[in-house]
Amino acid sequence: MELQPGKFYVLRGENGAGKSTLLRMIAGLSEPTEGSITIFSLPSRDARARMGYMAHAPLLYDELSGMENLRFFARLYGIPSDAPLQDAIRRVGLDPALPRRVGQYSQGMRQRLSLARAIFHSPELLLLDEPFSNVDPESAAEIARLLGAMRSAGATILLVTHQVGLLASMADEFLLLSAGRLVDRGAMRGVHT
């Protein structure tokens, strides 16, 4: 399966089809049992700096504040200053101060913080696992617009979601997975699962 840079792909399929697993493999977290994965002509583990991954779970330290979390992970990406972080926070629609501990955030806020972490280093490839699942419709539309803007700026986006309608106009291609195999790809063909 080959993906073109600068395009917006949506992964669909019923539960258990293997969408999250595929995303994990591309992110370098799992090894495929057969075959190999290359990103920008590199094995997935070498492309980490140019990749942003947002998992289904927020993966944040509950005991630290939102800003402390972001700052900590930003250092792991070699980002020394706060400016890109502030930018990312604003773009996902959160209040830049973020003083409270993440444990006290709502699900939606945690999700958006996780998204901020995925984009603060301006990655060329963005992997998102159900970014809209706990977010209200207006925020979901905002996030979709944000992703569209990133795609226009040259990033490649690979997204797993059940809410296809939201992305009907923005996505370049839909990939349908079933039982671990790619069964169909192409532009949107009506609203059906």
Binding site: G28, L29, A49, M51, A55, Y61, E63, F72, Y77, G78
Partner: protein, 231 residues
């Protein structure tokens, strides 16, 4: 495109991790308090059960102190990755471009400081309860404690990561740690006893501890990424 000014030096990343761990420890002080209380209890219980004279105590205190430290260290190490596990954060680490060795070193240093703190509490209690006084040069004890603690912590942190992918996690850590640590523990105990009783110089034991620390720190650093990504 990468952000300008990107730096992924191991030293800075390690410091980053240590800071994060210390901050987390400080925020959840209940864990800290329980550990300190537990360490104190261990010393007191030992003192109840074994009541030697001053001469005898110098001979056996070395062994008792290190058994008590081993207990407490194992308990502390079991906690070491607990927060990462609870929040599921390890995946976020693995996806980041930072070399995992930095995370490991950071965790080791944080654990090392934590265990040293426990030892600083327990050692004076031992001195009091056993009326200990060192016949040999006491400054050597400092070296022995530092090397010995690092030997336990570096392997313990490594095996704690391994235990994450096993059933009965809390049991797996001591099970893996203790056999590998036997030569180090033997050296620690012998060295401590030699210094306390003033019989001979613990130079050979200290050398062995140093060798052990170098060998295993290297092994841990080289194999950490492999074990972290074993899926």
């Amino acid at each position: 495109m990468t952000t300008p000014g990107m730096s992924l030096s191991i030293a800075k990343l390690t410091a980053n991790n240590v800071r994060k761990d210390l901050r987390l420890e400080w925020r959840s002080r209940d864990v800290l308090n329980s550990m300190l209380f537990f360490a104190g209890l261990v010393v007191i219980i030992f003192s109840f059960t074994v009541e030697p004279t001053a001469e005898e105590s110098r001979r056996i205190a070395g062994g008792l102190i290190w058994i008590a430290f081993l207990f407490s260290t194992t308990m502390a190490l079991n906690q070491s990755w607990a927060r990462e596990l609870r929040n599921g954060v390890l995946d976020a680490y693995r996806v980041a471009p930072a070399p995992p060795e930095a995370m490991f070193l950071g965790k080791c240093l944080a654990n090392f400081l934590f265990v040293l703190m426990l030892e600083c509490l327990m050692a004076p209690l031992f001195v009091i309860f056993y009326n200990l006084s060192a016949v040999g040069p006491a400054w050597q004890l400092v070296i022995i404690f530092l090397l010995g603690t690092w030997a336990l912590v570096v392997n313990g942190t490594f095996f704690a990561v391994m235990s994450i992918r096993t059933r009965s996690r809390e049991l797996m850590l001591p099970l893996l740690l203790l056999p590998v640590s036997i030569p180090a523990v033997v050296s620690m105990v012998t060295a401590t006893t030699l210094v306390l009783s003033g019989e001979a110089s613990p130079a050979a034991q200290i050398k062995l501890l140093a060798v052990y620390c170098v060998v295993y720190t290297t092994a841990c650093l080289l194999l950490f990424e492999t074990v972290l990504n074993a899926e």
